[in-house]
């Protein structure tokens, strides 16, 4: 394992300290229990957005704390959901008197820990569950689909709407709408290495890729021979469109997300390939984002996310945002 770390036990805390000091004008770190929050204190009269999840997906979620997006983020251990006390402390610290909206990726652990936090907070807390990963079948016999890169889009759109002072119920409804209109699917070219484990999570042959991989290195739909970028783009876009079933002429946002170790040169190439697929299917790509946003430590790989746009979503997507990882319009 080759990583910039000191000791396996200190990775999380040291990277959080480094992050918070690099972005001090935007975020602050609190410890015992650990969470990141916007500088400047609670925004009075605004619903506070709190997210969180296992670490190792940076910049998600801490990189999205700031004006126009999250009020706080609770980082768990690497690939392990955070605990209710973190969520409760974060919610208290950012409560602006208009309620708390938890944005939760659909993993058993995340859901249960956020549930416990919500139960303890009681009234005034609501939750948006993100499950955009079309790789995993949505079936009532399982815990359902996973939340992956689409989470960033939900957080951005709902974050902008919260600045606009929408109330808790409207924000929850908006978040659920964005989630419904969003689909993602990813491919891994290599495994990732959790620092505490010290070895790759899984083995992948020199000519293989894992199609439909999760952001914790969970298996996807199947393994196959590494294909050209155009074929990968086609495979992923088709799977998403099968799920979203957009109309011809539908406007959409296209996000190409790297898994952490994939250089921008490859991501922009994949963007071009995916965009062609989308346009061939009749979509109009109106908004775009390319980069490493919802990652899996040092995994080489990428995912495609599509969100079907309407004027409300587009407007909130374009609204100003000042966070460490996303910044525009201000």
């Amino acid at each position: 394992m080759k990583k910039f770390i000191n000791s396996v036990d200190d990775v999380l805390s040291e990277s959080l300290h480094g992050f918070a000091s690099a972005y001090a004008p935007i975020v602050r770190l609190r410890e015992d229990p650990t969470f990141l929050l916007r500088t400047g204190g609670p925004v009075s009269g605004k619903v506070a957005l709190v997210s969180g999840g296992g670490s190792g997906h940076e910049p998600l979620h801490g990189g999205f704390v700031g004006k126009g997006m999250l009020d706080a983020a609770c980082p768990g251990q690497v690939f392990t959901s955070p605990t209710p006390d973190q969520m409760i402390a974060a919610a208290e610290a950012v409560d602006g008197g208009a309620g708390i909206l938890f944005i939760v990726k659909n993993y058993t652990g995340d859901v249960m820990n956020f549930d416990m936090a919500s139960e303890m907070i009681g009234d005034g807390a609501a939750t948006v569950l993100v499950d955009d990963d079309v790789a995993v079948e949505d079936s009532s016999f399982t815990s359902g689909r996973r939340g992956v890169a689409g989470t960033l889009i939900v957080e951005k759109v709902v974050g902008a709407a919260a600045e606009d002072r929408l109330d808790l119920a409207s924000l929850k409804a908006l978040g659920e709408k964005v989630n419904d209109k969003t689909g993602s699917m990813g491919v891994a070219l290599t495994s990732c290495t959790v620092p505490a484990a010290g070895k790759p999570m899984f083995d992948l042959g020199e000519d293989e890729m894992e199609v439909g991989v999760g952001i914790h290195g969970e298996p996807g739909r199947h393994r196959e021979k590494l294909a050209p970028a155009d074929s990968i783009a086609k495979l992923l876009v088709e799977a998403i469109l099968e799920d979203l079933k957009p109309q011809k002429g539908q406007k959409a946002l296209l996000l190409i997300n790297g898994m952490g170790a994939t250089p921008l040169m490859e991501l922009t190439l994949l963007y071009g390939a995916a965009r062609k697929e989308c346009e061939a299917a009749g979509l109009e790509i109106e908004r775009s984002l390319v980069g490493n946003y919802v990652t899996s430590l040092d995994m080489a790989g990428a995912s495609v996310t599509l969100t079907l746009l309407d004027d409300e979503i587009t407007g909130y997507w374009d609204a100003p945002v000042i966070t460490p990882a996303l910044r525009w319009g201000a």
Binding site: T83, G109, M112, N113, D115, S143, A197, E218
Partner: protein
């Protein structure tokens, strides 16, 4: 009043889980995200750090404290699940060291786990260990503590082993679908380790 068997029992459980941490993570690597051992270790290290305060309580209250510590330290799926298991077991126990009372306590914990995780037996989870353990304890309610402990231990073993051929439909292993078959469930293994450790203590006469 605290019981003098309490501290050694908590210590034994914590040390067993910590000692098996790599094994548990390896099991989790096969069908999950490879952290179950680390999660249990982190939680039970925190329990050990507070063992004196915990063991100073009455056993039912001590169980609740263990549960709260786990909820606050573990995270993941196993944090709320084991947290709920211990908290609810504590709440469901009248404190008597009878087999029947212990059976009721464990059943309370199991019901908590089922409610929290919305799962039932046969889904390749820790439930597949605790459900047969509850059944064995209930059936042994007129037997000696040692006999009941032995029955619980063997029920846990059988339950654990049964998870190998199950297809996971809850938790991370569910994403594997058919590919989850052939592997023991890590949470079932940690549960079985707890039952095994406690049952040994009872056999040795350390705990009632």
């Amino acid at each position: 009043m605290s019981a003098d068997w309490l501290k050694p029992a908590i210590q034994a459980v914590a040390e067993t889980l910590i000692a098996h941490s790599e094994e548990l993570s390896d099991l989790d690597s096969a069908i999950g995200d490879g952290d179950h051992g680390h999660n249990m270790k982190r939680g039970f290290q925190a329990v050990l750090e507070q063992i004196d305060q915990i063991a100073a309580e009455e056993p039912p209250k001590a169980l609740q404290k263990i549960g709260m510590t786990l909820v606050g330290k573990v995270g993941g799926a196993s944090g709320p699940l084991y947290g709920t298991l211990f908290m609810q077991a504590g709440k469901s126990w009248d404190g008597t060291p009878s087999v029947a009372a212990v059976a009721a306590a464990v059943e309370g914990g199991l019901d908590g786990v089922k409610a929290r995780g919305k799962a039932t037996a046969g889904e390749k989870t820790m439930i597949d260990v605790w459900e047969p353990v509850v059944a064995a304890l209930k059936e042994a309610s007129d037997k000696s503590g040692a006999d009941a402990a032995a029955a619980a231990r063997s029920a846990a073993e059988t339950g654990l082993e049964a998870t190998r051929e199950m297809k996971a439909t809850k938790g991370r292993a569910a994403y594997l679908g058919e590919r989850s078959i052939g592997h023991l469930d890590p949470g079932a293994r940690s549960s079985e380790l707890i039952v095994q450790t406690l049952s040994d203590l009872v056999s040795k006469g350390v705990a009632p």
